[in-house]
């Protein structure tokens, strides 16, 4: 019996990690740094914008800075969410087909939300004549 912590298969293959873990870690941290600044603005802005109905929300998103920060916040959030949910799925779902399916769904949901919310913000901003 080997006292090596590697499994026999891993020792036979002589391979380490898939080499993408460091990149994942750094991307997670960089998007988190962006969100430290964006989330406080976001909470204030969404509360302020949601207090005066449809007209208030439209007028708020028609402001260039609000539109830019909204796209940045949602973009950073969806990116961060996708990386985080990927780890949760990889940790808890052992069944191969189910795991791959959920990872793909996670990617589709995050990119879908990014496209839909970005287009929404642009539509409001452009139709306001900003």
């Amino acid at each position: 019996m080997s006292t090596d912590f590697e499994t026999p298969t891993a020792a036979a293959r002589g391979l380490g990690s898939a080499k993408s873990g460091t990149g994942h870690h750094i991307h997670q941290r960089v998007s988190a740094i962006a969100l430290i600044f964006l989330v406080p603005w976001f909470l204030y802005a969404v509360i302020a914008a949601s207090r005066s109905g449809f007209e208030g929300a439209t007028a708020w998103l028609a402001q260039p800075w609000n539109a830019i920060l909204m796209i940045l916040t949602l973009g950073a959030a969806f990116y961060h969410m996708r990386l985080g949910m990927q780890v949760v799925i990889e940790d808890y779902i052992a069944k191969a087909g189910m795991k791959q399916g959920l990872l793909i769904l996670n990617t589709f949901v995050c990119f879908g939300l990014l496209a839909a919310t970005t287009l929404s913000v642009l539509k409001i901003w452009i139709s306001a004549g900003g």
Binding site: M1, S2, T3, F5, R29, A32, I33, L35, I36, V39, L43, V46, I47, A48, S50, R51, G53, F54, A57, T58, L61, M70, L74, A77, F78, M81, G84, M85, V88, L113, A116, T117, L119, S120, V121, K123, I124
Partner: protein, 133 residues
């Protein structure tokens, strides 16, 4: 295993059922739980943003859901979840960057602080939002 002796020499992690709950463990688990909660909350916020672009009728429908008792409870939980993940996330940064706060007493105290911060800040923001705007 069928009654056989444990022969694998590799270290086995302590089983979750024989662990005593402590603050750092709770904070770690809740970081993940709130992360998933924030994901679900982001779906809600996205629907709100999309409804602004979709027009007044769609916005009124979504606003009605958000202002209903269930909507308000979900939003309050989402706010608390977001603030916990925010505070605990900053701690992760300080662990990874300057590498501070690893001493057991500091780590435990900081965990308690993150829970307290999430609840107190959520209640404060909620009361400011309903009284000032």
């Amino acid at each position: 295993m069928s009654g056989s002796e444990w022969t694998d020499p590799r270290p086995m992690s302590p089983h979750v059922q024989i662990w005593k709950w402590h603050w750092t463990m709770a904070a770690s688990i809740f970081h993940r739980v709130t992360g998933v909660g924030n994901y679900l909350g982001a779906l809600l916020i996205s629907v709100w943003v999309i409804s602004i672009a979709a027009g007044p009728e769609a916005y009124a429908f979504v606003e009605g859901i958000m202002l209903s008792p269930i909507g308000q409870i979900l939003l309050f939980f989402w706010l608390t979840s977001l603030l916990f993940h925010f505070a605990n996330g900053i701690r992760h940064m300080l662990w990874d960057g300057p590498k501070v706060g690893f001493q057991p007493k500091v780590a435990s105290g900081w965990s308690v602080f993150n829970f307290a911060f999430a609840i107190v800040a959520a209640a404060t923001i909620w009361s400011l939002a309903t009284n000032l705007f």
